[in-house]
């Protein structure tokens, strides 16, 4: 038999020329064109994005960057949780907000921007201008597929971690501070959870949180990386940072990928004998900041006799009857921004450093010699917390010197509030 005769003739209908398209609208195809043509993502990835529900907690620098990428990429459902309002000091890094937005709820504005960026998402993005708590967290996590931790505090980070393990959801977590950023995906298949690494949040909450400087691009970069990992989770691509912690050092321009441990069998949350079965503040510590907490035992707050109010200090400045000088315990970088002229800068770090104490003592001693009859020293910081701690430390350092040590109540913030409304705060 000749080969020709084996060919089955096409039926009429199959010859008929028709067009086809994927299960995406023409508008969607046009909008997502540049990612649809990528073989690793393609139509399959786009449909997965449309069906995925993303929960973003935190609408700050990380959240701005992550959310606009997620909605732009076609996230089916995007819920943004944040109860903060926009302040001027946010704008250098929270790139979706403008000067005109100051005072408005971050989540509300970010949802607006996402809607404007992409009106084609399956559901309109939703803003929840409330705090994340043990009461609402688990339900929110269960209602979504991929969770993004864009928060700025240890309490919320553990709350989300616990909820994600209890509800079996992957947690794409990023952070940014100063020149550093970190990223990892917790609880994705068998990757670690946060408590596998650090079981007790209270230990991390002891970190000082008044060092809240951050370079603008760092959270933007980390938030974009976070969106990328969240898209990979949703689209079924290989998830790079499950079980791997990325550390970005912006000062040296280096990225480090640190391979984390496997899940900890002794983890109090995801381990075999877990003790954490519900969301509870008992396991989460506190969401208020501690100041530094080292060697001053117990309560370091000063009694009223050891404090001077801004208005009393202003009066003392004018009268000049009691020679007095100021010790400013902020960092040298902060001292350059604003402060009191002729004050002596002794940064908190130098007071805490055993090796620096001798130098501190010499500087103070010299200053006291320079001002004849000086018998009192006022310690100043930004908000009036470090200054109280500093008075305790200075009393030790100057134990044998007859000098009265007080702190400026409320720090420079108090000075602005009660004496000089034009004084800048930062």
């Amino acid at each position: 038999m000749s080969e020709i005769s084996q060919i089955t003739l096409l039926k009429n209908a199959e010859l008929h020329h028709e067009t086809y398209k994927a299960e995406l609208s023409a508008e969607e195809i046009g909008r997502y064109a540049r990612q649809l043509v990528l073989p690793n993502f393609g139509v399959k990835g786009q449909l997965a994005m449309r069906n995925a529900k993303f929960l973003v907690v935190g609408a700050g620098g990380l959240g701005c960057s992550a959310c606009i990428h997620l909605s732009g990429s076609g996230a089916g459902k995007l819920t943004i949780v944040d109860h903060d309002r926009i302040e001027a000091s946010n704008l250098h890094r929270q790139i979706m907000y403008t000067t005109a937005d100051i005072g408005r709820f971050k989540a509300e504005v970010l949802v607006e921007r996402c809607k404007n960026s992409n009106p084609l998402t399956l559901y309109p993005p939703e803003a929840l201008c409330v705090a994340l708590t043990t009461d609402n967290c688990l339900e929110l996590v269960r209602a979504h597929d991929v969770i993004l931790d864009c928060t700025d505090n240890v309490y919320a980070r553990y709350l989300l971690n616990d909820a994600c393990v209890l509800a079996s959801r992957p947690l794409v977590s990023a952070s940014a501070l100063k020149f550093d950023g970190q990223l990892t995906v917790y609880n994705f298949r068998d990757s670690v959870c946060r408590r596998c690494l650090f079981p007790d949040p209270k230990i991390l909450q002891a970190q000082s949180c008044d060092d809240n400087g951050v370079m603008g691009p760092v959270p933007g970069i980390m938030g974009a990386l976070q969106a990328m990992e969240a898209i990979k989770v949703a689209a079924g691509l290989e998830v790079t940072f499950a079980g791997i912690k990325l550390h970005y050092d912006a000062l040296t321009g280096s990225f480090y990928r640190i391979k984390l441990r496997p899940r900890n069998p002794l983890c109090p949350l995801c381990g075999a004998a877990s003790v954490i079965r519900t969301l509870s503040d008992d396991h989460l510590g506190t969401n208020t900041c501690f100041s530094r907490q080292p060697e001053v035992p117990g309560n370091f707050l000063l009694d009223q006799d050891s404090r001077i109010s801004s208005s009393d200090l202003a009066t003392a400045f004018k009268s000049e009857t009691v020679p007095n000088f100021l010790v400013d315990v902020r960092t040298p970088a902060e001292v350059q921004i604003c402060g009191f002229r002729n004050s002596l800068n002794l940064p908190m770090d130098s007071l805490l450093d055993e090796n620096a104490r001798q130098t501190v003592r010499q500087k103070l001693y010299q200053k006291l010699q320079e001002i004849p009859g000086c018998s009192s020293v006022t310690v100043v910081c930004r908000r009036g917390n470090d200054s109280q701690m500093a008075v305790h430390l200075l009393r030790k350092i100057l134990a044998d010197v007859p000098v009265i040590l007080k702190d400026l109540e409320g720090g420079l913030y108090g000075w602005k509030r009660d004496v000089d409304p034009n004084f800048p705060i930062y």
Binding site: A176, V214, D249, I258
Partner: protein, 89 residues
């Protein structure tokens, strides 16, 4: 032998440097995770302030500080990265 140290984030501030080398004598090795951390803190005392908040990585692999008696082998030119978790957002 010399081992390279890489301090990141707050660990960099407390150590006062991003990079350092630390000399290891023959008697000291093999180290346990705990004894290595102790040596780090002896050399860079202010790291003690965050000793419970550190991640140590040996050639970019996690060292389990919750299991301080586990020993590990250091070779000339190995790198130990020292970093605390960053929490800001």
């Amino acid at each position: 032998m010399d081992v390279n140290l890489k301090f990141l984030a707050l660990a960099k501030d407390l150590a006062g440097t991003g990079d350092a080398t630390i000399r290891i004598t023959a008697e000291e090795s093999p180290f346990t995770v705990g004894s290595f951390l102790a040596k780090l803190i002896r050399t860079f005392p202010r790291l003690g302030e965050i000793k419970d908040q550190l991640i140590l990585a040996h050639n970019l692999e996690y060292l389990d500080l919750q299991n301080p008696s586990a020993s590990f082998e250091l070779k000339e030119g190995d790198e130990i990265a020292v970093l605390p978790p960053v929490s800001g957002g």
